[in-house]
Amino acid sequence: MILSVRDFAIGFQREGQNLVAVDGISFDVEAGETFVIIGESGSGKSLTGMSIAGLQPPTAFVSGSIRFKDREMLKRPDAELRKLRGPEIGLIYQDPLSSLNPVWPVGDQIAETLVAHGLAGRAEARKRAVEMLERVRIPDPRRVASAYPHEISGGMRQRAMIAMALAAGPSLLIADEPTTALDVTIKAQMLELLAELKHEMALTIILITHDMGVVAEVADRILVLYAGRIAEVGPADSIMLQPSHPYTAALMTSAMISQTPAKQELNAIVGGAPGLGAFPAGCRFHPRCPRAQNDCKAVEPPRRKFGVVELACHHPIEAAMSLTAARS
């Protein structure tokens, strides 16, 4: 186990009110797996991912525990967290420009992470930066190393960002919506690259996304977040193909369009996700849930084991009724 999150909560104080964005979630990430956190806007998925790297917003209140390789991340001073980001934890984002400095050649930026962490001298770091660019399959890495971010194409920038995140040899890579802004053909290239790098560098990947296609492609295990709570967590195959939580089942609909006969009504859930501070009582999904009953309105479902997954639902979908079963 490389990461262990226990009763993690994060919130903000706004106009004298405590608004809780993520409300007491627990999960483990095993070394070497691709762990995907799925959720829609406002579910708290990015906040969770950023907090693992110690990058939660400075105004946030946090509680609980996030242990990475037996180090407590939540109560660690900034300087120490900074030492971990790079050699232990790498980060990639949706927008590569948010992590690349526009006025610095790409190669120098990658080299700088090595120098800053005392992993190499200047000359050595520069050489390793070029190697790293080669490793992310950039043709002509020497030229790209001396180019500024605006001089290379969007796809190259994405790769350069990955090279920078992985240069110092982290064991954990946190990827926050890395493919959301990309076209499908470029997205496919990125996913393939990540899969290869994961294998070559023995990475553990935490991927945060709402793109079910990407999830289908790479996930080993999946955590489904809804309104700051865990809906369901478990192996990817069962979550995707036999979702037990009604919310998960509804989410998978969007990935099932190609299996719904053309022009027919899709199996959609009603309404929208609740905003921060407007989470309903009882099960937070109940106002949108087709299976909701009276107990769902009153009692928040506890987390429990259900087959191979763990979920928080009073009336989960039995395997026999799940999507695949119904179709085959």
Partner: protein, 339 residues
């Protein structure tokens, strides 16, 4: 007769500071019939949004004709376009950005009536309520500002506004792309339901093949300003013949693909092309795994495949592309690939 017809339209944007002119759309012909849905698929920078704006007459064509219900509206000034606009409406990608943030929903909804001089008097508010409930927003407070609604609600409002004038066709540019997955399905359902009830036509533009494949009768695939393949939705989704369409279809991973063992996607190399720097011959050749000399030298015309209405702009179709196309289509539907 087609309701909306683009006849060999081109659009060249000349850049301000002596930059090169960019041909965003290069001789595209498309027609949307009554009650029909035409889906236009392509990646960013392929010119699909420009094409939408040409069809809506929001920008003027550099070359070619735009016809609406048989009338050539290419040179129509905004005053002459007004009666056409009543019949031709639009829905855009980002619902929050496409509504004026300082106007209440009531003001947003009455704008189409004011603009077209439709006097409903006391009947206006009931009409607005009726439109909003038609798109599934029964009890919203119409005195609120757009910022107080969710993305899904706002897209419904944008659709209700487009429906206010009872148009015959709606041009929708990425109508679901900015929405959360659970909301996308709702909007797809709403658009299908509107078509069933009103017999409206759609020109839907998207990069999302899943959505297009589900809602469209016919699909056109755009690459670097040109249409490279066109056909019925079944043809395109089940047996794409252009290598680019095949790559697009196989690149978008689906749940079905997860179950496919031994399924290999067609991977495109290189970056999306730059409209300011168009390759010679077939525009797709630098990224195509089948490319050979003829592709580098000669522009392939969009031509009909024997025995079907499918049109493909590829020198090698269908002989060398049909097998791969069938496999991509099967894999996508979660069927076993024959091999």
């Amino acid at each position: 007769m087609a309701l909306l017809e683009l006849d060999a339209v081109s659009k060249i944007f000349s850049q301000r500071r002596g930059g090169r002119a960019v041909q965003a759309v290069a001789g595209v012909s498309l027609a949307v019939g009554r009650g029909e849905t035409l889906g236009l698929v392509g990646e960013s920078g392929c010119g699909k949004s420009t094409l939408a704006r040409l069809a809506l007459k929001l920008v003027d064509v550099t070359d070619g004709r735009v016809r609406f219900d048989g009338v050539d509206v290419t040179g129509f000034a905004s005053r002459r376009m007004l009666p056409i606009r009543r019949r031709l409406q639009a829905v855009f990608q980002d619902p929050l950005a496409s509504l004026n943030a300082r106007m209440t929903i009531a003001e947003v909804m009455r704008e189409p009536f004011d603009t077209h001089g439709l006097k409903l008097g006391a009947g206006l508010e009931p009409r607005i309520r009726e439109l909003l409930s038609f798109v599934g927003l029964e009890n919203i407070d119409i005195q609120k500002l757009p910022g107080q609604f969710s993305g899904g609600q706002l897209q419904r409002i944008a659709i209700a506004r487009a429906l206010a004038l009872e148009p015959e066709i709606i041009v929708a540019d990425e109508p679901t792309s900015a929405l959360d997955p659970s909301i996308q399905a709702q909007i797809v359902n709403l658009m299908l339901q509107i078509q069933r009830k009103r017999g409206i036509s759609y020109l839907i533009i998207s990069h999302d093949l899943d959505v297009i494949g589900h809602v469209a009768d016919r699909i056109a695939v755009m690459y670097l300003g040109t249409i490279i393949e066109q056909g019925t939705a079944d043809e395109i989704m089940q047996r794409p013949l252009h290598p680019y369409t095949q790559a697009l279809l196989s690149a978008a991973p689906t749940l079905a693909a997860r179950r496919q063992v031994g399924w290999k996607r067609i991977m495109l190399t290189g970056d999306p092309p730059n409209p300011a720097d168009v390759p010679s011959g077939c525009r797709f050749h630098p990224r195509c795994h089948l490319a050979r000399d003829i592709c580098r030298e000669k522009v392939p015309p969009l031509r009909a495949m024997p025995g079907t209405g499918q049109m493909v702009a590829c020198h090698l179709a269908p002989e060398e592309t049909a097998r791969a196309g069938g496999e991509v289509g099967r894999a996508r539907r979660g069927l076993a690939v024959a091999s």
